[in-house]
Amino acid sequence: MNKEYAVLPCNGLDKCAGCVSKEVAVILSENSESEIICPVLFHTSDARYNKIAQEKPLLVIDGCATRCASKLAAEKNLKIAEKINVTEEAKANHITLGKGLQMGEEEMKLAKIIVDKLTQVQKAADTEDAIAFPASLTYEVYKKDKFVFRLPKEEGFYFSENDVWAYVVGNKARIGVTDFVQKSLSDIMFFTPPAIGNQIEQFEDAGNIESAKAVFEIISPVSGTILAINEKLMEAPELINQNPYEQGWIAEMELSDFESDKELLLTFDGYFEVLKRKVDEFHVKH
């Protein structure tokens, strides 16, 4: 059974990516019980679509980084269940979008890939807990005033200087941010997950998190395919503040070249020094 959505595409008319967003919306509405919300009409009269938006999970399709559809949803106080960005998908699937505005072969191919991915999201998400993660962790702490920064000492943890950890078991890994990130951001309010099934290289981004202070791009410490994301963060991103190593993890991945990735990663001893230096510097500045 296909998933049903209330689909809000950006429908950008002057960019190819915007036209793809429309195509995806149309295919979804034809192949499933999904219903389209027209962004233009929605903008001027929301009463017409409020019912659809409440009954079905909202899927937002943005064409480019301006993210007009996401912004419109936020403006109208709608809860976004699923989000997709056509330009990012094109990049991830190595498809170059045309300069023209008509749907060509490549554009249709991309639209189909996105539709397939959206209808399969549910299945992939069920493979949560793909790796055996320790039931409890032991921490070393570094204190600064009243603030306590933790770092897990368990073997298998690797850290990048971008303050992201990976816990590696065999050819799989779980990734997340360190205490330095969650403490410097303060209360995290939004989590934009990486797309399941995406292949990412080492140091490519794997989603982002946002507080009232700043947006933090999660730079993946390892290369591989996203197997699962921590669904709980969609509703409760504060879990990252509570413990970014345990219930606040970000995603799980199948590794593609960890032997090579490892060269640019630190183990506990190396990163603990980095953490201390960053905390001291941050403290001086704030």
Binding site: D145, K146, F147, V148
Partner: protein, 134 residues
């Protein structure tokens, strides 16, 4: 070497003006008057079980700032971390009638109230400096 740290725990009471003044004075000390030496502790977090606040109060000297003679901040500190280094009760310096006034919202504060904040902040600073000089 780190600067010496002093914790300030303010009452923030919701029923009277004193709570608002205690809170604003404490923030003024932390933000502008003694930013390098003062850490504010969050009383609600402290009483609801916040480990960071409680552990800090055990390791560092704490000044309790209360609006009225109920002394909630002081009593909480003694209960959960053992002792207070010093304490200040605003009714002693501003007068009972003043602190028990029903003007509480920051929306309703007038210049006279901000003068009281300045005075309270000065008193807190005196206590901070005394501890730092030890």
């Amino acid at each position: 070497m780190d600067e010496k740290q002093v914790g300030v725990l303010s009452c923030s009471g919701e029923e009277c003006l004193g709570g608002t003044i205690a809170r604003l004075a404490t923030r003024k000390v932390m933000e502008t008057l003694r930013p390098d030496n003062v850490v504010t502790l969050c009383l609600p977090l402290y009483i609801a079980g916040g480990d960071e606040e409680r552990d800090f109060a055990k390791e560092y000297p704490v000044i309790a700032v209360d609006a009225c003679d109920k002394c909630c901040a002081k009593r909480a500190t003694i209960k959960y971390s053992g002792a207070v280094k010093d304490s200040l009760v605003l009714s002693d310096i501003l007068g009972e009638d003043v602190v028990l006034s029903k003007i509480v919202s920051a929306r309703d504060l007038k210049e006279e109230h901000y003068k009281m904040v300045d005075k309270a902040a000065e008193e807190i600073c005196k206590k901070v400096d005394k501890i730092l000089a030890e």
